[in-house]
């Protein structure tokens, strides 16, 4: 149980001065953005895995197809295969980088769980919170928001790059399977 009393309103002379920024800071919709980017990265990783698994599954028919057709055609199929594999691998690597992207460092703020966990006890945490007035609590939240926004921007930059690769890889992969289905 938190035993320290937290009476921030009695210490804050002008709470109405921060009410606008505080609303924006506490309700800035940045916190779900990294999770959204992570979902997309997970989808890209799963799709890349499936594409490569299916290609490996059809490796023998593909080998027969390549060795069974003439000179320019087999080179075209091999080139298509190389393009698909390269695009899928680049997409997977980029998506993995996005998935494991760390949160940028931020000044000490009690909005961040590591700083909350760094308090020796619940009482120490409550005491640290009790020292905050509205402007300093707002600043804590803003520092946290900024780091999360930078994390989301970096994750989405990588995820969009991975999606560009997958956007090329999937139609080529479909074409390869169609060729295999009709002429394999």
């Amino acid at each position: 149980m938190v035993t320290a009393s937290i009476d921030t309103t009695s210490r804050d002379p002008r709470p109405e001065a921060v009410i606008g920024p505080a609303r924006l800071a506490y309700f800035t919709p940045v916190h779900e953005q990294p999770s959204l980017a992570d979902r997309k990265a997970m989808f890209i990783l799963a799709a890349s895995g499936l594409l490569l698994t299916v290609l490996l599954f059809f490796s023998e028919p593909l080998e027969r197809l390549v060795s069974g057709v003439g000179r320019p055609m087999n080179q075209a199929i091999v080139l298509l295969l190389v393009c698909v594999v390269a695009a899928v691998l680049i997409a997977a690597r980029t998506a993995y980088s996005a998935y494991t992207c760390p949160l940028p460092p931020m000044p000490p703020t009690l909005a961040f769980f590591r700083n909350v966990a760094a308090a020796e006890s619940v009482e120490a945490y409550a005491a640290a919170l009790a020292q905050r007035d509205h402007p300093s609590a707002l600043r804590d939240m803003l520092h946290y928001n900024y780091s999360v926004a930078c994390l989301a921007a970096e994750k989405f930059r990588l995820v969009n790059r991975a999606l560009s690769c997958l956007r090329v890889a999937i139609p080529l992969w479909m074409l390869l399977l169609l060729i295999l289905a009709v002429w394999g």
Partner: protein, 207 residues
């Protein structure tokens, strides 16, 4: 039920301290005695779940198409027999169905990717949008937000909501097209797999 709104009359205009009610909890900012409906709605407008829903459906379409192509490749031998039959008009019909399936699938893939990563509409920068926040330095962001009035903060949120809603509309528009393409592709795929299935079963039974 008893009313939860304050029964008091509104205080005189200009008396800012009187317009702020006592906070319900000691750790909450004092709220205006009469909750501003515009602010309440603007800061709680639910947009994110619609984005997630559209993205999930687009990802589902891509996954299903991947499965369809895998199944067709698995039955490549039989499909090859259908399309490369030596005589009869049926080969042209099967080639047309297969081509329709490929074309519709390609359309569905393109639209699904457009759903997942749509072109962002031109919009005024907002301090509620992560991209605009990340473009600033930490000091600049903190200083800008701290300098906002309540009205300006609301405007930032309104700009975010409006842009976010336009992105949602664009995503759903692309998703509708993706679903349309997918339905035609699925129809063609069902026809092909049904015939392939019957042929496989027939040959197995005859053998």
């Amino acid at each position: 039920m008893s009313p939860t709104a304050s029964p008091s009359n509104p205080p005189a205009a200009g008396d800012a301290a009187a317009q702020l009610g006592e906070p319900i909890f000691p750790d909450r900012l004092p709220a205006p005695r009469h909750l501003d409906p515009a602010t309440a709605l603007a800061f709680r407008t639910p947009l994110q779940e619609h984005v997630l829903s559209a993205d999930g459906k687009a990802a589902g379409i891509l996954t299903l198409l991947g499965m369809m192509f895998t199944v067709l490749a698995r039955f490549g031998g039989q499909l090859s027999d259908l399309v490369q039959a030596r005589q009869g008009p049926a080969r042209y019909l099967w080639a047309a169905i297969l081509f329709s399936f490929a074309a519709m699938s390609l359309g569905a893939v393109v639209q699904a990717f457009r759903t997942i990563s749509p072109r962002f509409p031109k919009a005024p920068p907002s301090l509620a949008f992560f991209g605009d926040i990340a473009r600033l330095s930490r000091e600049e962001y903190v200083a800008r937000v701290e300098a906002l009035s309540a009205e300006d903060a609301l405007k930032q949120m309104l700009a975010y909501n409006h842009t976010g809603s336009r992105i949602c509309v664009e995503k759903l528009r692309q998703l509708r097209r993706a679903i349309l393409f997918f339905e035609f592709a699925a129809l063609a795929w069902f026809i092909i797999t049904a015939v392939l299935g019957i042929r496989v079963f027939y040959y197995f039974y005859a053998w």
